[in-house]
């Protein structure tokens, strides 16, 4: 037996549709299903083996690789930073937290304690994060990122939505730029051909809407393992098997049928007993924390969806009374899984997972996001991107200047008698000064200075006695305007804007400060005329 692990890095959102949400919406699973990985590899295999006819099941190698159960394609779960457990696993449903605890610090495992043992101030509520990695009693919780897109159906010939063809539908997909760890369990003889299929091209398309902006994923870090434990390196089965209880945790959804062929959602006692070669009556269920899910799928060959069946949801926990177990039987149970569609990663189980320390409480953390580099981002000098970044920084800086101007104007008011005609005169001159043809349509503050210097005595008195300022400090309008004109950048205390290493500040354009000073004079004069 051999194991191949590899990383799937999503370049575009992935549409792995589950049966959730409204009829007009597609909601993705929180992971990449094994069936999807298997389907993509079948596609690659058939592309190179064109001599296989329509009935691909007639080919022995196809059967062995993809259908017989010799090779199992497990679900790809979120990648962790833990070396001992790079693939996160579904959070056990026996884990509870104190309601409203934010940030989450403590988790209580009710499979190993009673509700009555909890402190009286703890109100138990299931943990909402779907995936976890465990290191002794430290747990890191993970949640996948999603992207919601809304699409409109268009009429094929009219090119737009019409009354009969124009439904709005919603795709809730796994977001781009996330990493998932995928696993293939295989026989040694199949390893080489699977390696060739994976190495053929590092770009692979998974899920729905592949031709239209969804599903692009990159394969990387293909590794082979002689021995591999699904629950992590430091939890070998030999250490887990001898415990006070016999506990089963589902690491993926499990599809079960009863003796009448009906799909059922109940503890898998009969199947477990058969797998461990014991009498079902020996398996005495002590506790169960389980939930159900509806499972479907899509067969591209048929062009049809698969039948919908109920299943026991991943993370379900069953605790039985202790019994002596055969190591090889338990190994086979963990390798082959239980129930239906185990080739596609359904029915994965872990025996006595998290039972090593006998602790019923875990301390939790959320994955930290460290910057991938501490170097300041820098674009090649003179490149189109650098020019665009500079332009963006400039626009942002100007927006900040406008915001500053608005704040300044709202804080100022004018007291004293100054007529609207004088204020209008000031506004007209300031507007003219914004684009002086003599200076090549640049702002010219000198024009305002000249106006103030050449006013007739009556008007000059008005500018001298009327005061301007905020609630605490007020000074004559004439004096204030002269101050602004002498030092136009004095009132602008805005830090430079930097985008992708390209900075922009007042010093890069000498016309900015005079321009915004003139705009400030105009805005204050206008405000005064209205008051």
């Amino acid at each position: 037996m051999s194991t191949i692990t590899f990383t799937l890095h999503t370049q575009q959102p992935i549409l792995a549709t589950s049966f959730q949400g409204d009829p007009n919406s597609d909601v993705s699973y929180p992971y990449i299903p094994g069936s999807m990985i298997r389907g993509a590899l079948i596609g690659r295999y058939l592309k190179h083996n064109t001599n296989i006819g329509d009935d691909i099941l007639a080919d022995t190698q196809v059967r062995d690789l993809f259908f017989s159960g010799q090779v199992r394609y497990l679900n790809a779960y979120l990648l962790t930073k833990e070396e001992h457990q790079p693939r996160s696993l579904p959070t056990p449903r026996s884990w509870f937290q104190n309601k409203g605890e934010d940030p989450l610090e403590r988790i209580y495992d009710l499979s190993r304690m009673e509700m009555s043992d909890l402190d009286s101030d703890v109100s138990a509520k299931p943990v909402k994060h779907q995936f976890c990695s465990v290191n002794s009693t430290d747990v890191t919780l993970y949640t996948e990122k999603r992207r919601i897109n809304i699409h409109n159906q268009r009429h094929r010939s009219k090119g737009r939505a019409i009354e009969t063809v124009g439904e709005v539908f919603r795709y809730e997909a796994l977001d781009a730029n996330q990493k998932f760890k995928a696993v293939i369990l295989c026989q040694k003889k199949d390893q080489q051909i699977l390696e060739e299929l994976l190495n053929e091209n590092d770009n692979i398309w998974l899920g729905g809407s592949q031709s239209a902006g969804y599903g692009h994923t990159k394969i990387s870090k293909i590794q082979f393992h002689e021995t591999w434990d699904e629950v992590g390196e430091n939890q070998s089965l030999e250490n887990r098997i001898e415990r006070e209880y016999f506990q089963i945790t589902l690491l993926s959804d499990m599809i079960l049928q009863n003796e009448c062929g009906q799909y059922v959602v109940e503890p898998p006692i009969q199947l477990l007993a058969e797998s461990l070669d014991i009498d079902p009556e020996q398996l005495k269920l002590h506790k169960a924390y389980m939930s159900s899910a509806l499972i479907g799928g899509f067969n591209k060959k048929w062009g049809l969806p698969l039948p919908q069946v109920p299943a026991i949801a991943s993370g379900s926990v069953f605790v039985f009374q202790s019994l002596s177990l055969d190591l090889q039987r338990v190994k086979d149970l963990e390798f082959y899984g239980l129930g239906e569609r185990t080739v596609e990663g359904f029915g994965r189980v872990a025996v006595n997972w998290l039972n090593l320390d006998n602790s019923a409480e875990f301390s939790t953390t959320l994955p930290g996001s460290e910057p991938s580099s501490t170097d300041v981002p820098k674009l090649p000098t003179g490149s189109k991107s650098a020019k665009l970044a500079k332009e963006m920084a400039k626009r942002l800086f100007c927006q900040k200047l406008e915001e500053k101007l608005r704040q300044k104007v709202s804080g100022f008011n004018i007291e004293g008698n100054i007529s609207n005609s004088q204020l209008s005169r000031l506004m007209i001159i300031a507007r003219k000064a914004l684009n002086d043809p003599k200076l090549g349509n640049k702002p010219n503050l000198q024009q305002v200075t000249e106006l103030l210097g050449n006013l007739p005595p009556n008007a000059s008195d008005q500018f001298e006695y009327a005061k301007i300022g905020n609630q605490s400090i007020k000074q004559p309008i004439e004096q204030q305007i002269k101050e602004w004109i002498e030092n136009p950048s004095g009132w602008i205390d805005i830090s430079p804007v930097t985008i992708a290493g390209e900075s922009y500040d007042l010093s890069q354009d000498e016309t900015l400060a005079p321009k915004y000073t003139l705009l400030l004079i105009m805005a204050i004069a206008k405000k005064a005329t209205k008051e």
């Binding site: 575009q12 596609g43 592309k47 064109t50 897109n149 809304i150 699409h151 409109n152 268009r154 094929r156 010939s157 090119g159 709005v168 770009n203 398309w205 729905g208 809407s209 592949q210 031709s211 239209a212 902006g213 969804y214 599903g215 692009h216 899509f298 591209k300 060959k301 048929w302 062009g303 996001s369 460290e370 910057p371 991938s372 580099s373 501490t374 981002p377 820098k378 674009l379 090649p380 490149s383 189109k384 991107s385 665009l388 970044a389 963006m392 920084a393 626009r395 942002l396 927006q399 830090s495 804007v497 930097t498 985008i499 992708a500 290493g501």
Partner: protein, 236 residues
């Protein structure tokens, strides 16, 4: 194996709609990513190319149905089976990758600084507002000649002169006529001149071109080359 790209240059302000707005601010928001960069969805772009391609096929004589087969290989047909699937994967049309990577790194560093200092200097809203602006419009009452009541709407527009690039990947079968498929894509790309909301009202005027990048070679524009082949083949 070659990589192909569609280059979209905005000749007028454009709204890549996303079907929602921001309450109290705008009625129509543009599609943008988590860093604030506007983009055109691959799904939308494929729909637009499909429409242009269908319009062109209506005009040419194709008794042997060669062009129709090429169209079906290029864009796929209804139904999700392996046989009817499109051979082309259209990616989102985005702004330059190096700029987005640099901003992504800057955001990571800012988030780290925010955790330690409690403040950050740039947000996704800043990036979006540095690449877009607002447009307001009303409806005019045809009888009165004045603005209709409650008809004022505002929408965000992506600024003209920006260039977006969408990656195109082919997954051709040996039986496919690759020259016809590429020619059909090139003419559809060239025919695509209006994109986004309000494209029949002045917004969304674009110039699209098809580019090829062979391994270890420079990016080369191939629209004209394939247009000539299309002209030659459809002349008769």
């Amino acid at each position: 194996m070659s990589n192909y790209f569609i280059n979209i240059e905005l000749l007028s302000d454009t709204t890549f709609g996303r079907g929602d707005g921001v309450a109290g601010l705008i009625d129509q928001e543009v599609e943008h990513d988590s860093y604030g960069f506007p983009y055109l969805r691959g799904r939308t772009l494929k729909g637009l190319l499909s429409e242009e391609c269908d319009n062109l096929l209506c005009l040419i004589s194709d008794p042997q149905r060669h062009w129709l087969n090429a169209r079906n290989s290029l864009l796929g047909t209804a139904g999700s089976t392996t046989e009817t699937q499109s051979r082309m994967h259209v990616g989102d049309a985005c702004l330059p990758e190096d700029l987005r990577q640099a901003v992504r790194l800057q955001f990571e560093q800012e988030e780290d600084a925010e955790r330690r200092r409690g403040s950050r200097s740039i947000t996704d809203k800043d990036i979006l507002s540095s690449l877009t602006t607002f447009r307001q419009q009303t409806a005019i009452d045809s009888k009165e000649g004045v603005a209709k009541d409650k008809s004022l709407r505002s929408s965000r527009v992506v600024l003209r002169e920006l260039c977006f690039k969408a990656p195109i990947t082919f997954n051709l079968k040996p039986s496919d006529d690759s020259q016809k498929i590429l020619a059909l894509l090139a003419v559809s790309v060239l025919a695509l001149r209006r994109i986004g909301s309000g494209r029949n009202r002045g917004r969304g005027h674009v110039k699209c071109t098809l580019w090829e990048q062979e391994k270890n070679k420079q990016l080369e524009e191939i629209t004209t080359k394939h247009l000539r082949y299309f002209e030659q083949e459809t002349k008769a």
